[in-house]
Every structure is written in C-alpha cells, then in structure tokens.
Symmetry: C2
Subunit: 329 residues, 2 copies
DNA sequence: TTGTATGCGTTATCAT
DNA sequence: ATGATAACGCATACAA
C-alpha cells in the first residue's frame, strides 16, 4: 500500500536486489562493494527509480548541505546580482540555497534566522539591517556590508577606496566643486565609508566639496531642494556629484534634467554599485563597480571553511571605475 | 560531550524539565498538556535554547514545507521579480524556498529537479527550457510560461491578449505600418502567442504589419540589418514596433538612435514584461505589463492545493498597458 | 566482503 | 493526562 503513495527507500531496493540494507547504502555512497552485488543494486535502483532521502541523511549526519541567504529582495538589481552569484557559488559546492527575502524588516530577519536554524542549515549569509540580530553560536554566519561583531566575518567591497576613486575620477575629469549625496540606512555599515573615502580623495586633489546626507526617513525631495538652492542664475554651483548608489544617480539625473542642467556637460555624475541595463547590457551611469562575483565567492568560501582557526573579521574587495555616460570619460 | 558541539534535542529538554519525551513534543506542538508540566517544559526550552529539528520532523511526517524554484537567474529583472514574489507567496504560507538558478541549461534543470526530489520538497515551480524534463509523478510541479503536458499546470500572463493590446495601442496612437520583433527561445512556449495576438490585433485594426523572428542562435545584428533595409531616404518604413520583451525594446531603441530615427516621434515602441528602472522606479519603455505578483500567487496556490481533483492545465492572467516614453501616450 | 543492529530527533500509538 | 516505545530512512560500527 505505502509503495504506491510514497517514494521507494533503501529497504525496497535491498529487497528488490536481494541484498542487505547496508550493501545498498554502500553502493549509493560509492563505497567498495562486490562487483556482482553492485550491478544488482544499481539495477534495482534504476528499476524502482530510487532516490536517496536527503532528510534522512541530514538527520543522521547532522549536516544538510544547505545554506540560507538573507537579503531584502531580488528586485533591486544589486541584491538580485548578489543572490545570483551566491546561488552559483553554493551550487558549485553542491550546497542548496534557501532564499529569504527580508524586505528590510528586522523582525522578519530574525524569524528567518530562527527558521534557518530549525532547518539545520550549515550556515547563513546575510545582508541584514537588524542591529541586534541573534544568531546561535554554532551556526556559521557571514555578513555582507555590515560588521556584526568580532566573531562574524563581514564581506564588502572596498567602500573607502571606492569613494576615493570617485573623487579622483571627478577631479581628473575637470571637476572643481563637487558634492556627495547619500540616502538609505543610517545604520553603521560598510557603505558609510564611501563618504570618508570621497572626502579623502577631494582633499588630496584639492577640490572643494559638500555633503548632503539624508537619514532614513527623509523624503527624496530634500535632494531636489538642495540642488535647487545651489542653482544661481540657472547654473548649478557643482560640476560633479558622487551619489551613494546608481539608483540615486538615476533619480538625481532625472531631477537635474527637470532643473535644466545637462549631464555630463554641466555636471558629471558618478554612482556606486555597477548596475547594468537589464542586468547585463550597458552601465546605467558612470559608476564605481562592486565585484559582485568575487564578493559572492568570498562569502561562500568563508562560510564553508570549517577548519579555519580564525576567520577574518572584515574582507574588502577591490572596486573599479566604469564609464556609463554620466561623465566625460 | 556532544552537548557542547550540537544543538539540544527534545531529550535534553525532557531531562531538564524532568518529564517524558512525549510531553515535550506535545508542548512544542501545542497539544493539551497539564498546566504545571507545560510551564516546566517551556522553562526548560527557554533555558536550553531549544529549537525543533525540521529535518527530523520532515523525515517523520514525510512533509518538508519546502518548495524549489527553478529559474534561469535573478539577473534578468523579470526573473528577479518572479523569484521575489514567489518567495513572498511561499513565506506567507510558511514554506521555505530553495532557489535554483539554471542558467537556461537543460541538464542543470534536470539536475535540480533530481536534487529537489532527493530533498523531498513538497513541490517545484519551474520556468524551464528542457523539453524532456523528467519529474516524478508524485512531485507536484507548476510550470511558468510553458506547457509541459496535461497533468502539469502552466501559469502565464495572457500573452495573446498582450500581443493584441500592443497592436491596438499602436493603431490607436496613429501607427499604420508596424512590425513585430522577436528573439529568444524557439521552444513552443506561451510567450510565442504574443505574435499571434499581435497579428490578430493588426488585422482587426486594418494596419499593415511585418514579422521579424530570430531563432535562438541568430545574432542581434540581424535586427540592425532588418531595420537598415527598411530605411529609405533616411526614413524608416515602420511607424510602430512591437518588441517581444522590454529588453529587446531597449536594444532596438539604441539601434534606432544610431540609425537616426527618433523614438517616439518617428517610430513608436512597445515592449513586453513591464520592467522598471532599478526594479521599482519608472517603466523603461512603453510596455505590456505582466501581473507578476498575481502569477506568483497563482503558482504557489496551485502547487500547494493538495486536494484539488483536477488542476487547470493552463491559467492566463490579465495584462495591462503602461506608458514608458517610447510611445506618444 | 557482506549482513545486522543501533541511533540520529521527532511523532504517534499505546499502556499506564 | 503522562510516560514508554516504535518507526521514519539512512549511515556506520561491528559481527559474521
């Protein structure tokens, strides 16, 4: 009866092949077994369409070959790209990936961590915003873009160098009065270093700069107002802007168009992330490109290194500049 | 000894609380239990930081509350959006989602199906391209955009109606000579119906039309050539184009710019999918919008309906038109 | 080299 | 109402 509704088990295979249970297990796991036995077992496996039960394996071995990825969503192209490359990196190592879209919700993040732990994942990779996220000691965790304490490795691009590179590029392209525009999470995370890097770059190149930092709750309109206020006689007092993301760069460029400022002739724009049209065509703006495939590989590598005495608290990967039409080169 | 390396189990809780194993199970599952016992067990759970083991539950119950999503990637914004909304729909029902990025690779698709089955998922949702994909009878499967046989439900937007709507829109906006451009998989799938719908719409509105269908392996350049050939005295002989995706619309608009054709003044463009800038800002082109959240909900609903006598072989969900700058309205 | 038996953490059936 | 016990499917230590 049960045979009709449920999948065949090793016991079924053993009976079919006329061998013992342990022999089947060995064949399945590629352990040495008498040639004739192996053939018989393989035939039976084929005949019954047998598939191992990962849940039974996982229960027995206390290892599930599963990791969870916590990320706000896959709508935003940067997150989407991260999810893709992490998925690929895990696959390559024969790990399954449970996707957890957290929608920036700290409570949901915590729920997912709990769920993942109950699911006995071998590790969690998280780009999270909950400053007090509780993770069991015995669950390996790798954080993206935010330090979560000395025992949890954090992987990010070199945000400071990225900010610096943006400043240098603008200076090289002739800008003398620039500004940094930033919105998004006010949490203490790695992307915050873009500001310091930019400042540093401006100082070393001797160009004057301003900062406009919006906190979490501020409406986008404040940027519009900021820019309007810096227009005198129809001319913007900045000739270069560094925006904290490509997304913001896009919004700003739309605003500038409404304000009759030409990009890049009147003002040059550099964004951050390296987003492309439809994921793989051209860059949507001149930008500091995050090495997403490398970030993904590094996260997975760090997560699965069981026997690493001490894991690095912070790994910064190199960024690069890419032209995308919003600068002169 | 084991206690230090592995998570606590019900047995540990039972010992800590001084009750029997079964009692702990009942408390965990909210079954009636003596008040004083319940308190003691809950205290012990809290103290030990006990978490149920989903793998043990799954093994016992032959139910894992897990589904797999097979999709080429999360880089393409349409796939990315689908992945997000399916993830959300599953979460709402307390199902975990294993993400399987197949990269359009039929062999990889089959591997993932096998993996999912070994992982005893309760069902699979797949947007796949393997015409001979083998799925166990007893694994519920819902397909997106491609019919896979009478017993496997297929969910898609109403592609025929979408094509028709595109034709009608172009006609309404004054077009008299239009063309349909298509590339991508030559497999027999639902999006193919966009062509028939478009044709139908053109005929009913009495406007003349041409088709340019590229097969899988054809290079994009053939579109460029096609358009060049239709330019006489600097003027394109089409005043409207319907492109099979927003992505193609973008590429075509770039080509038209190089050919000195203005969009939308000289030629109006309508795409398909409803992709937005950075996932959530404005539409990248005038487009036929797929109802992605509804598609996601429908897939999950169909997948998890255990006691549905007969599942619908094909569900088509309504599309809508959205202005995105590449038409006159 | 092959077979047997135990246990992984749960749930559920049975006595008590 | 509570406690003991078997079974889920598999891996493995051990016995044959």
């Amino acid at each position: 009866m049960r045979r009709e509704t449920s999948a065949p088990t090793m016991k079924d295979v053993a009976r079919e092949a006329g061998v013992a249970l342990g022999t089947v297990s060995k064949v399945v796991n590629g352990l040495p077994v008498g040639e004739s036995y192996r053939i018989r077992v393989e035939d039976a496996i084929h005949k019954l369409n047998y598939q191992v039960n990962s849940y039974a394996q996982g229960l027995k071995a206390n290892k599930t070959y599963t990791a969870a990825l916590l990320i706000p969503n896959t709508i935003n192209p940067f997150f989407a790209s991260l999810a893709y490359y992490i998925n690929i990196a895990l696959m390559k190592r024969h790990y399954r990936m449970i996707l957890c879209s957290t929608d920036f919700d700290p409570l949901l993040e915590q729920e997912y961590v709990t769920m993942a732990q109950q699911n006995k994942v071998d590790g969690i990779i998280g780009l999270t915003y909950n400053p007090t996220l509780i993770v069991e000691e015995n669950t390996p965790f790798v954080s993206i873009d935010r330090s979560m304490g000395p025992h949890i490795p954090c992987v990010a691009c070199d945000n400071f160098a990225g900010g610096q590179l943006a400043a240098e590029k603008l200076a090289d392209l002739g800008c003398r009065n620039v500004a940094f525009l930033r919105n998004g999470s006010s949490l203490d995370n790695e992307p915050n270093k873009r500001k310091a890097g930019f400042e540093n770059g401006c100082l070393s190149r001797g160009i004057s700069y301003e900062m406009k930092i919006l906190d979490d709750s501020a409406p986008y309109e404040e940027f519009e107002q900021f820019l309007s206020e810096h227009i005198h006689n129809g001319k913007l007092s900045f000739d270069g802007l560094f925006c904290v993301t490509d997304r913001l760069t896009y919004l700003i460029s739309e605003t500038l168009r409404r304000l009759n400022q030409r990009v890049p002739e009147d003002v040059q724009l550099i964004g951050f992330d390296g987003i492309r049209s439809f994921g793989d065509i051209d860059y949507r703006c001149s930008t500091i490109v995050q090495p997403v495939p490398e970030i993904a590989e590094m996260c997975v590598e760090l997560l699965l290194q069981e026997n690493m005495r001490t894991k690095p608290p912070l790994v910064c990967l190199p960024v690069s500049y890419a032209y995308g039409g919003t600068t002169l080169g």
